[in-house]
């Protein structure tokens, strides 16, 4: 199992190297990887049916509970087969669609990366690896959407998608941490038995909230749906694979996976029903007004995802069964339609439905695939879609008081979806073939065979739903409900209410299709409402953030040294003042202090005068000289208070500093009076306040008793361990020798800096 997941990552690494060497050969063989995986997972079915869930586990960071725990049950199986199956066809399709593309190797690498992440995601049992793979799918989706990285639109859409799904990913992490806190477990399969305890926990609401945000962003639910139409900038194989069949269903998978753990609670059901219903209706109606084929498909995908969320929200066994079926139904017909759209785009160069028509005359097999998919989408018997739609109505009708409302919403959505499906799948192929498309020809078989396979499966499963029942659907439903389901899939239920509803849907949808002609003017009218859409709102918010950030940075990062200083010092002063104000009683104990002798007082007085003179002197030379006086007074203070080493060092350094200043001074500018009196008073006040606070702080610290442990250690061991009697020197060269080593290195760097600044020649641009 680990190999199966990892192989995609390794493959993603190797592909660019291999394809780099085999430029001319067809890349059809690349599809062998997903095909192998597909067969491998198929071969696991008997083992699964025998009643043993497959749970391999590999240690990774056991101390943090992060392990590669995999878990293959019915739900995971449904997804892994979808991922590897659709993956195989998409890989095949790509070999023709992007034939000879300069970055085909990269494209395959991203696709494999995505496939591996997606497999990891649906197989993860550990909550942290679930998060990890979740983020990996977002990242690989980012690369795939932005594949045409020379186009501004692509880059922008990729960023939007990453921002939204990445944002959701953080919420997923929060939800997982919350769950881990509640259950003290890291495996999802271990949480299901604790479901009741989790629902009573005070964190339950938060976990639910975080999980919903994560699922809604990934599965493009209202109001986070808008990244998906933007993501259609990606090459068509990507739209097919990520943005209709697999990745966007990750959110649905997440909700389904946690249904046994968190489900059957009024918050869970209520939120999902409302959000799902809103999304499915909103997006389905939106789909009616698009004229770009991919736009239509994007909105109908959002709507389908809404239906899935809605069904999971209903939560009854019927609804969960309908959801499992609909995941498959949707993947089959929507992937077909996307692939067909890619072919149309590839061959005619347009995706505008108002210009397309009569393509059956030039590419019949493609047309057949598209129409079969449209039938399945419309739920017309004997397609698999009919089975799916029946189950949806059955689920909504079983909801008691709300049954009629929910059923009406479902019908409304299905009618709109049917029209959208006809526009995308049938309209381009029927009618009159425009003159300019006369020379359009059928693409390579590797392009039209994959949609044909998918579309035929859509009909085949409809005719013989029993094929899927035992191996795939029953295990999936049982892992959702936790019980062994008792149902029998069939195409024909006889004439009953549900059949009547299906007839109404198909009838009104077909009527609407003939009356509503998608056109540019209609699209324009509809887009006037865009200003109110969540997309504009969120874009507005992000623009607001950018503006606020700019203002904030502009205010603080103004480029003037003194304003930086004033900001820092002002803040520090306030902090210090507050701290000193709330909790300090100044105790000045004069008894423990040393006495003031006359000569000390004189030295300090000289020092104070010298400091003031340095500050207020109008002459630079005088300022430097008095700076020297300050330094020599320091020397004396060190000497009085038992620091002969310091006194000597200070003396030498002071001499050198003054020499340095004198050497440079005449080449330095004269003082200028640059600031007016008001500014001077402001600066003076700030400095005085800060100085006073430092003084008070010093007094306060002095009244505390200090730990002398370090000093005593050095004092005791200087001779015994360091064989020296001057403790300060022993510290410098022995105890803390390493620091000194670094210090002289720094000194050397400073000297090299000085040398470099003065000796290296000015660049020609600086010479003027």
């Amino acid at each position: 199992m680990l190999t199966a997941v990892i192989s995609g990552f390794i493959f993603a690494l190797l592909i660019p190297i291999i394809l780099g060497r085999l430029k001319s050969i067809s890349t059809l063989w690349v599809a062998l990887l997903p095909l192998t995986l597909f067969i491998y997972f198929l071969s696991k079915i008997p083992e699964l049916l025998a009643g043993n869930p497959i749970k391999p586990s590999y240690q990774w960071v056991p101390s943090l509970g992060i392990n590669l725990d995999f878990y293959l049950d019915g739900l995971s199986l449904l997804f892994v087969l979808l991922i590897s199956g659709v993956g195989t066809l998409v890989f095949v399709y790509t070999s023709a669609y992007l034939k000879g593309h300069h970055y085909l190797d990269r494209f395959y690498a991203y696709l494999s990366l995505f496939m591996a992440s997606m497999l990891g995601l649906v197989l993860s049992d550990n909550i942290y690896t679930l998060f990890l793979f979740w983020e990996l799918t977002s990242i690989s989706s980012f690369f795939l959407i932005g594949f045409n990285n020379d186009k501004k639109d692509s880059r922008k859409s990729a960023l939007t998608a990453l921002a939204i799904t990445g944002f959701g990913g953080l919420f997923l992490l929060a939800a997982m941490v919350g769950l881990g806190q509640i259950t003290d477990a890291y495996q999802i399969s271990a949480m299901a038995p604790m479901a009741d305890a989790i629902k009573d926990h005070s964190l339950y609401g938060w976990v639910l909230f975080f999980l919903f945000i994560a699922a809604f962003t990934k599965s493009a639910q209202f109001p986070f749906h808008f990244w998906l139409p933007g993501a259609m900038k990606a090459p068509t194989p990507v739209s097919t694979y990520l943005h209709s069949a697999t990745m966007v269903k990750a959110g649905v998978y997440l909700l389904a996976r946690f249904t046994p753990v968190l489900g059957s609670h009024e918050w869970w059901n209520g939120t999902l029903i409302i959000v799902g219903a809103l999304t499915m209706v909103y997006a389905a109606i939106h789909a009616l007004f698009r004229i770009d084929l991919k736009g239509i498909l994007a909105y109908s995908t959002i709507s389908a995802l809404g239906i899935l969320v809605f069904l999971i929200g209903l939560g009854s066994p019927d609804a969960l069964l309908a959801a499992s079926i609909f995941i498959l139904v949707h993947a089959l017909y929507k992937a077909t339609l996307f692939l067909v759209t890619g072919i149309i785009d590839h061959e005619t160069g347009t995706r505008d439905v108002t210009q397309l028509g009569g393509l059956n005359k030039v590419m019949l097999p493609v047309g057949i695939a598209a129409m079969l998919a449209a039938l399945s989408n419309a739920g017309i018997p004997p397609s698999f879609g009919f089975v799916g739609k029946d189950l949806i109505y059955e689920a909504t009708l079983g909801m008691g008081n709300l049954a009629w409302l929910l059923t009406c919403l479902a019908i409304l959505t299905n009618v709109a979806l049917l029209v959208a499906g006809f526009v995308a799948g049938i309209k381009p192929f029927l009618g009159k073939l425009p003159e300019k498309f006369k020379n359009v020809h059928l693409p390579a078989p590797s392009m039209y065979v994959p949609p044909l396979i998918l579309a035929s499966l859509g009909i085949l499963f409809g005719l013989f739903p029993g094929v899927l029942e035992g191996g795939l659907i029953k295990p999936a439903v049982s892992s959702l409900t936790g019980t062994t389901p008792d149902f029998h899939l069939q195409l024909w239920h006889g004439f009953n209410l549900i059949f009547l509803l299906s007839l109404i849907t198909i009838g009104s949808g077909t009527l609407l299709y003939f009356f509503l002609k998608p056109s540019e003017s209609l699209l324009k009218k509809v887009s006037t409402f865009d200003r109110l859409s969540p997309q504009s709102l969120i874009m507005g918010i992000s623009r607001g953030f950018a503006l606020a950030g700019k203002g904030w940075t502009g205010f603080f990062q103004n480029g003037y040294l003194r304003y930086y200083l004033i900001t820092i010092l002002g803040f520090l002063s306030l902090l210090l003042a507050y701290r000193l104000f709330i909790g300090v009683d100044l105790l000045i104990n004069t008894d423990v202090m040393t006495e003031v002798t006359f000569y000390e007082a004189v030295v300090l007085l000289v020092m104070a005068v010298a400091i003031l003179f340095t500050v207020f002197s109008k002459s630079r030379l005088a300022a430097v000289a008095s700076l020297g006086v300050v330094g020599y007074s320091f020397c004396l203070i060190f000497l009085f208070y038992s620091a002969p080493d310091l006194a000597m060092t200070q003396f030498s350094i002071d001499t050198l500093t003054v020499i340095l200043f004198v050497l440079v001074l005449y080449n330095l500018p004269k003082y200028l009076k640059l600031s007016d009196t008001r500014v001077r008073i402001r600066d003076g006040l700030l400095s005085l306040i800060f100085g006073a606070l430092i003084s008070i702080l010093a007094l306060e610290v002095m009244s505390e008793s200090l730990s002398k442990e370090t000093s005593e250690y050095y004092a005791e061991n200087a001779y015994i361990l360091g064989k020296g009697k001057n403790v300060v020197n022993v510290i410098l060269v022995d105890f803390r020798g390493f620091d000194t080593m670094v210090e002289i290195t720094v000194l050397a760097i400073a000297a090299i800096g000085v040398f470099g600044l003065l000796k290296l020649h000015l660049r020609s641009t600086e010479k003027e």
Partner: protein, 117 residues
């Protein structure tokens, strides 16, 4: 005595900051030196000052006696003094060089970056 030193420390800090807030480059460096001195004195003072007992072990003893000046702050300050010399030298030369290139002493007019020159 400590009280007087505390006042001097405050004065050094205030003077240093005031000088650093001026627009003239030379004053900036003088301010930096004053501030550094203030910090040294602060560290020195907080190590508890003692008169006439340098941290040097007597000729016939193996360790320091009861009362002695704290060697740790002294070692710290010694390092700081030497390092600040390096810093000052570098800063002074930097100013000289900047003055030569930009031809102004006014910090506010030094907004050009390398590329603009």
């Amino acid at each position: 005595m400590e009280l007087l030193l505390v006042i001097i420390i405050g004065l050094l800090y205030a003077a240093g900051i005031y000088m650093m807030l001026r627009r003239s480059l030379v004053k900036l460096i003088i301010g930096l030196i004053l501030l550094g001195n203030g910090a040294n004195l602060l560290i020195f003072l907080l190590g508890k000052i003692v008169k006439g007992k340098p941290p040097i072990i007597g000729p016939n003893e193996k360790m320091l006696g009861e009362i002695y000046a704290d060697p740790v702050p002294q070692a710290l300050i010694l390092t700081a003094i030497v390092i600040s010399f390096g810093l000052q030298a570098f800063a002074i030369i930097l100013i000289k060089r900047a003055y030569k290139v930009v031809k102004t002493d006014d910090l506010d007019e030094m907004y050009a970056t390398d590329e603009d020159l």
